[in-house]
């Protein structure tokens, strides 16, 4: 499957991936509208970690042996057979946070109004995930594994 490869040596910590991720998952999908008009403010599903000059963005790795899937008490978390992405059905998720506990990367968060989880969906349906598309330094690249 195609996965997002993180290249920390090129991450400059601009956090635009977070911005574009949040907007991609907002109502309007428009930068200005999403940030200036939507409440609650859109939340990114990618996280930039920074320490001194080191930084990198991290989002769901869509692990081959994803512990979050088995941890899900409702079966909301599953692997999309087409893309191979680990996706969460927000209609099924009840916010038990088991997946948050199980994710070794800490890349599942509490999402919409803190009721359901929020995680990278690889922007399924788009040609390229928003973070990859908009990373100005190609620190995130989509690659076939």
């Amino acid at each position: 499957m195609k996965k997002i490869r993180i290249r920390e040596k090129y991450c400059m910590g601009c956090r635009l991936c977070e911005i574009y991720c949040a907007v991609q998952h907002s109502k309007s999908k428009d930068l200005v509208k999403a940030y200036r008009g939507e409440y609650p403010k859109p939340v990114p599903r990618i996280l930039v970690e920074e320490k001194d000059y080191l930084s990198f963005a991290i989002q769901c790795r869509h692990c081959e042996d994803a512990p979050c899937i088995g941890a899900c008490i409702t079966g909301a978390m599953s692997r999309d057979p087409k893309s191979g992405a680990v996706l969460c059905d927000e209609n099924k998720c009840v916010g038990c946070w088991m997946c948050i506990m199980m994710c070794p990367f800490g890349v599942i968060g509490r999402g919409k109004e803190k009721k359901v989880i929020s995680k990278c969906d690889l922007c399924v349906g788009e040609k390229e995930p928003a973070c990859v598309k908009n990373c100005p330094n190609e620190a995130l690249v989509l690659e076939e594994e």
Partner: protein, 425 residues
């Protein structure tokens, strides 16, 4: 003939079906359940009771899961005997089901204390969909206004929360001096207790039920020491015991649960056990014991399934942990959260205003436990650190940082963590 026979129909069964089908696309799988409902998510029953989940949406994940995986479900039947020598099981209707590989995922059943009035209408346990339906009907029929939940563990609290959501005044009775005493430390308990009280829930600790009284129907609960609590509903949630009888009768080794090896096999070949009934390896305790939580049941079922289908896989063990949100307070507890012995180091952070609580327990610079209350977002990283037994000595000071994450970990660890997952570090 079933190639794979699974007794029990919850997390372990689902995990097993998934991994069997990864290896064996055609081998016949049969699931026997003593419940009459097709596969559903058992933890959802409190959400159902609270009205947060529709009764039509109780299925586990995709309602077509079994159909897609070509699984035959036998519902409402009890397996009454296992004949390992003949490789067959007998159902309560006398039918014999031969198998090649057998998985015992019989789970547990709630413990009901032998107190007076335990059989009165209005007294329930709460672990199955039928329980939820009965309680729901009872509440509606009797216009229940107040209830007593006996037991301040997770099931008790989730049930109490559901009842509160239904507008019922709830009193929790807990034998210990605080709720969630098994997984939380005192501070964590207090935060959750405060949240419960804020929702009008009453907590009575260091006490337990002496008797339940009422004429034809529950009227009140009398506690040890004579304290009386009026209520129309009593839920017993003081614990669960594993369903080991079947195994025992078949000559399978049984302790508290069914001990299994690292391939989830019991002492009898081709018979596996997984889930709440199994005693598997606890990494932190360095012993085999039951850890009755969903992720473990699924993982064990999955390992068992792989091995049953001939794909040798080892279970690398687990440890106690849980994630739960109670009355708007998200919590995660992992491992040894409150060791009393010497030799542990504790890092703590507590915000009085935010009610954010973070606690990390270390032994010899290795994390062995952690609690996260109200801010839980990256708890999984700590679980991974516990599991990998990483020495955190050099970045110990950073563990409590708000922005603690991968970037603080040594490069070698990051590399190790992300091998094969597309991260160049």
């Amino acid at each position: 003939m079933a190639k794979y026979l699974i007794v029990g129909n919850s997390a372990a069964a689902v995990g097993a079906v998934g991994s069997i089908r990864q290896v064996d696309k055609d081998g016949k799988i049969v699931v026997v359940s003593n419940e009459t409902h097709s596969l559903y998510s058992r933890p959802l029953i409190t959400y159902l009771l609270a009205g947060q989940v529709d009764k039509n949406k109780m299925s586990y994940g995709d309602p077509m899961f079994y159909r897609k995986n070509d699984v035959e479900e036998i519902l409402g039947k009890e397996v009454v005997a296992v004949h390992p020598a003949e490789k067959k099981v007998i159902l309560n209707n006398g039918a014999a089901l031969p198998y090649q590989k057998l998985l015992l995922a019989t789970g547990g059943r709630p413990i009901v204390p032998q107190v007076e009035g335990k059989d009165l209408p209005g007294v329930f346990t709460f672990t199955t969909l039928d329980d939820a339906k009965k309680v729901d009907e009872f509440i509606k029929k009797n216009e229940v206004k107040s209830a007593v939940v006996v037991g301040g563990g997770l099931i008790g609290l989730k049930t109490a929360e559901a009842l509160i959501a239904r507008g019922i005044k709830v009193t929790i009775v807990e034998l210990a001096d605080r709720i969630l005493s098994a997984t939380f430390d005192r501070k964590a308990s207090e935060i959750v207790e405060t949240a419960l009280r804020e929702r009008g829930c009453e907590l009575i600790t260091k006490n337990t039920v002496w008797k339940v009284t009422g004429r034809g129907v529950v009227k009140k609960v009398v506690l040890q020491g004579g304290v009386e609590v009026d209520c129309q509903l009593v839920i017993f949630a003081i614990g669960v015991m594993p369903n080991t009888e079947l195994a025992k009768s078949a000559g399978i080794e049984v302790r508290k649960g069914i001990p299994v090896d690292d391939r989830m096999q019991t002492n009898i070949p081709d018979i596996y056990a997984a889930g709440d009934v199994a005693e598997a390896y606890d990494m932190l305790m360095s012993t085999k014991r039951q850890i009755a939580i969903w992720p473990n049941a699924y993982a064990q079922g999955s390992i068992a399934g792989s091995n049953m289908a001939g794909d040798a896989k080892n279970y690398d063990g687990s440890f106690a942990m849980n994630a739960v949100e109670i009355c708007g307070v998200p919590t995660i507890s992992i491992g040894l959260t409150d060791p009393q012995e010497a030799g542990y180091e504790v890092l703590e952070q507590y915000g009085k205003e935010s009610m954010v609580y973070k606690k990390i327990v270390l032994k010899d610079d290795v994390i062995v436990g952690a609690i996260f209350i109200n801010k839980i977002d990256r708890a999984g990283v700590f679980r991974a650190l516990i599991k990998s037994k990483t020495n955190v000595g050099i970045f110990k000071a950073d563990l409590l940082r708000d922005d603690f994450g991968f970037v603080w970990l040594p490069e070698t660890f990051r590399k190790h963590m992300v091998v094969g997952e597309g991260t160049e570090v």
